[in-house]
Point group: C2
Chain length 346, copies 2
């Protein structure tokens, strides 16, 4: 067959669903229950353990990838979807696998839920899918996984394993540790959080992530993450010392460097911040208000670029902020007010 997917979890099943009608996909999983769900959902047919495959995607935990590949018949090419790459590359060498046939990869997509029931054929649409060939990886293996990524609707990006692990340490693993530590300090404080606003809600959102999953990721990428966490700790230690010493110049410098760093975080468009402005509507905290405001905006021909709902904890009102183009701001305010909405005076 074209493609064997080993592992019927969230990612493996989603790949099967995404390729339905495009490729002949067979599935395999040591868990009969997971495999049953994946097959029932139409992610592919059962593999008999013998039929040869052109390419095999191993959608197993990082620590299992090398053993899985070593246990499969040779002849085709292999890829995996591990969220860390260096450790898996090393384990493949240690396992004596023919590494010319293997290309690591990492689709930058996920969900809070896991397992085949949570899988989605559109999980990868428009998402980066990092391809991490080693120095030994054959071009055949690389193009096989590239083809899978493209057929899933993802956008392939080639990086070395080192580049990948450094990049995810920075954009994903460090923020996770930072949010968890911030939330841990809040939790330990015993102080009232009743005055919390959107700032606290945003900075701690990912602190709700699954510890069991994250501890595996951090284990495998510890050498890339640790120096960044150390650096963040040092920044904050410096800020605490500056606050204690009344050296507010140093605090201001930190805030300015924070501005610069934030500027480097990709947004939708480079010009978003300059060309788009908010229009805020105050609404009672009742069902249907958000839809109502957006319906009025749509009927008035307003292009809403983004929307932000701010609930006021424990209070019966909220604010809906629509992001519109600068040129459309006045018209949007007028149209929403005319439709009876309580537009917050700018």
């Amino acid at each position: 067959m074209d493609l064997l997917v080993v592992g019927s979890g969230l990612i493996g099943t989603s790949i099967g669903l995404a390729l339905r009608g495009q490729l002949d996909v067979a599935l395999h999983d040591p868990s009969v229950a997971a495999l049953d769900v994946a097959v029932d959902r139409g992610a592919g047919r059962r593999w008999d353990g013998i039929e040869p495959f052109a390419h095999c995607v191993v959608a197993a935990p990082p620590s299992a990838v090398a053993d899985v590949i070593a246990s499969l018949p040779a002849g085709g090419t292999f890829s995996h979807v591990a969220s860390v790459q260096r450790a898996v590359q090393a384990s493949l060498v240690d396992a004596g696998v023919d590494v010319t046939a293997v290309c690591g990869s990492h689709p930058m997509a996920g969900k809070e839920q896991s397992g085949p029931a949570a899988a989605s054929g559109e999980l990868f649409v428009g998402r980066p899918w990092v391809l991490c060939p080693s120095a030994s990886t054959s071009t055949t293996a690389l193009s096989a996984v590239r083809q899978v990524a493209e057929a899933c609707g993802a956008e392939p990006v080639v990086m070395s394993a080192e580049e990948h692990d450094a990049a995810v340490a920075l954009v994903s693993h460090l923020p996770q540790v930072a949010a968890s530590a911030l939330a841990a300090v809040l939790g330990a404080s015993g102080g009232s959080l009743a005055l919390a606003g959107p700032g606290l809600q945003d900075t701690t959102r990912i602190a709700a992530s699954d510890p069991a999953l994250w501890v595996e990721v951090l284990r495998e990428n510890a050498s890339a993450v640790a120096p960044l966490v150390r650096q963040l700790s040092a920044e904050l230690g410096g800020a605490a010392a500056a606050l204690e010493a009344g050296d507010l110049g140093a605090v201001e410098q930190l805030l300015r460097r924070g501005n610069d760093g934030r500027e480097r975080v990709p947004r939708k468009r480079g010009e978003l911040d300059r060309d788009f402005v908010p229009v805020s509507v105050s609404v009672p905290d009742e069902p249907g208000q958000l839809a109502g405001v957006l319906v009025s905006a749509a009927l008035a021909g307003i292009n809403v670029e983004d929307v932000r709902v701010e609930h006021l904890p424990g209070r019966p009102t909220g604010v809906i902020e629509l992001l519109v183009h600068l040129d459309a701001q006045a018209g949007a305010r007028q149209a929403l007010a005319a439709a009876g909405w309580d537009v917050v005076r700018a």
Copy 2:
């Protein structure tokens, strides 16, 4: 007159606008330009410097409050709107002001912009407005500022200055320093942020805040903020050491304590996370898609509790996630698909 507002910036002008038609408000500001804008916008009439007032709100920077109150005629009561309270209370004593006539307060509302042009009569609607009487504050002064807060549509909450400063250190000042430090580390890294997703975007959003404004806030509340920043630095130092030592048990404990802390951050409703579930629609990244989806949802009678737009940086697609009640999920998916939307398979 009923109320004198000294300071025609964002907060003072917004108070005047909010009370229009409710109270007789006079305005004063040493800046003629700011006062002109506030008067033009209808926030109140000019004060002649002589006319007696029942209550005066001093909407000036924290460091200026005591001098302003000392310079005004006695007879009425006073309040201020400083974002830190202990330092202002101490400065009032130092300035020899009659502190029985003064009640500190802090409306928990603000904007990225400042000045009278950015003011809004609805800035305070539904927001907490902390009232911070000192041990000396008269009940007359306390009820005067409570009346102003209520007339502005805010929700008064009484706290001591110490409680207030501790609460805002935790829910506002600490997250600001944390986000700035995280963004500073990102900025200093020189690494690629191209793989960044919503986690990084959320954790660093407030790192874009105005350093000049924040350095004043942090200066005045340094003694409450410094220990929290120190504690966060220590948490992260511990995490770095655990990662370096391969002690993933300690890392997992931190992640779990982060879960617990995040649980304590107020949401709209206690049951939000359990009873509301996402329905995701994949859309081309073109104007009008968000409104279109919400229009379809509204026409189908779906109550949308919240919405999240995820743009994929540099890519032509995005995902709109609607939060709907658990009972409405299946119907919402069906209705949106029937309306022609590309509902992401659950």
